[in-house]
Symmetry: C2
Subunit: 295 residues, 2 copies
């Protein structure tokens, strides 16, 4: 393993921060940037250098992004002061943000012209997966040269797969979000039912988690919901953004997915309820509210 690789990381929120910690602990030298500088302080204490995006672009061989929205990616990468045109030939741009497949293709093409290797590489596994270095990474881009990137990603991931050409990483992540969206509805509705039926909900989720109703959502978020812990592993507003991309892409493909539509409607109502900065498991609060209004 070549620990002298110069790594830059833009976006050190919940996910990015945990991922950077693993890199630092492994011995990598990294330069970081975050719009809200506060969120970078722990990493700086651990040895990360704080640089502007343009400085990261100029000095690093590998530039990783973990941002919030496609518009952030677009601005940081190909905006007026974007990183791409400041990056070195032969360097690597890896976008871990869950973003639009079209934007991934656009960035890939522009990067190709500049002889820069571009990968869309959204992750799954949530805050817990990031903390425990067992994220799942779904990659779109060229197989050629990817080994160099994979080597770095392994620091915080348990599974890394190239899913196809540029954009295919994002499409895979959309499948992931579509699955999670309805799964979370099921988990929350099942728990609400159990609550209303005066069952011991803790016992219920323990028991059902081992059977055909078992899922990551039930096993990880079920206990949090039970403790009324609605703090974000993954922000409602970010999930809503993902579901928006899913809907846009589905429409383009002529797909009507009613579960996805329902999830979008429910998560959208959460923004109106002021729950945008809560974690996705706060869907429970929304369903409780809706049911209170109905009764």
């Amino acid at each position: 393993m070549n620990l002298t690789k110069k790594i830059g990381w833009i976006g050190t929120g919940v996910m990015g921060k945990s991922m950077c910690k693993h890199l630092l602990n492994k011995g990598y030298e990294i330069s970081i940037f975050n719009r809200t500088a506060d969120k970078a302080s722990e990493l700086i204490e651990m040895g990360a250098k704080f640089l502007k995006p343009i400085e990261i672009a100029q000095t690093c061989d590998y530039v990783f992004l973990m941002l919030g929205y496609p518009r952030d990616v677009e601005e940081i990468v190909i905006g007026e002061n974007g990183v791409l045109k400041n990056m070195k030939k032969g360097s690597y741009l890896i976008d871990h943000t869950t973003s639009s497949p079209d934007l991934a293709v656009k960035i890939y093409s522009k990067a190709k012209e500049l002889e820069i290797n571009s990968y869309d590489a959204p992750v799954s596994g949530g805050d817990i997966g990031a903390r425990e270095a067992r994220l799942v990474v779904m990659v779109g881009g060229d197989e050629e040269n990817f080994a160099n990137v994979e080597d770095i990603m392994k620091t915080y991931s348990s599974k890394i797969n190239i899913m196809g050409s540029a954009g295919k990483g994002q499409h895979t992540k959309m499948s992931n979000q579509i699955i999670i969206a309805s799964t979370m509805i099921g988990v929350v509705e099942g728990m609400l039912y159990a609550q209303k039926a005066n069952l011991d909900v803790d016992k219920v989720i323990q028991l059902l988690g081992g059977g055909a109703a078992g899922s990551f959502s039930l096993n990880v978020y079920g206990p949090r919901i039970l403790k009324r812990d609605f703090e974000p592993g993954f922000y409602v507003e970010h999930f809503l953004k993902d579901l928006e991309i899913c809907l846009t892409e589905s429409e383009k493909m002529g797909l009507k997915l009613s579960g996805l539509e329902l999830a979008y409607k429910l998560y959208y109502s959460m923004i109106e309820m002021g729950l945008g900065k809560k974690g996705t498991q706060a869907l429970m609060l929304a369903l409780e509210k809706i049911n209170k209004e109905n009764s």
Copy 2:
């Protein structure tokens, strides 16, 4: 373990048959009944005795049921020629059928009057759980005397929990079905999206199964859907019956569960499409059809 316990088993379909095989392999003597006698032949060859329900009631200490619908349970247990009034004092009636919580309470009360121990004990884990003796059993009824029953159940189960008084086993199962209903929608929609986006769907489900989208439904039914294997582990028409009970119970509690309503609508449409005898994973066929009609 007391293998001289006289066990009767009514209902040897997909699930009941596998469960009885485990009992026979363990060395239990069992008497069985099934409306369609064909489905009992393999068990008879293995040593089970075929008796009428009334004979089972008269001769067995433990009478297990694994039937299709609440109406079947009602008829077999408290109908004109029902087993309950023919059972011995101190004997046990265990209903593994997924059925209505109210009916479970009704049977429990009548059994109590006759000094018979009654348990509602629906299971989760599907055909695969039954075959591999790792079903999850959720029990409603009295803790007292339950150890005798648990001993037998262990033969085909990995987890057995008393969830509370009569009916609470069924309520727990309803939570289970509510969770599975939306989870399955998520899995099928995610796979359909992946298909349309020209991803390698096999690779997608392998990868996502290990992350936050992972679930029993994705990991067990995903590969079956991929192989276009829509044979029943669990019949669509039985699942629809479960969802009907879920809806009825939710309404009684004043709960509005939109995911459950959507699942009911989709599975109901499958009956109209002639898919009632397929497995629940055939939801894929329904969504493909709906999307074809839309395009």
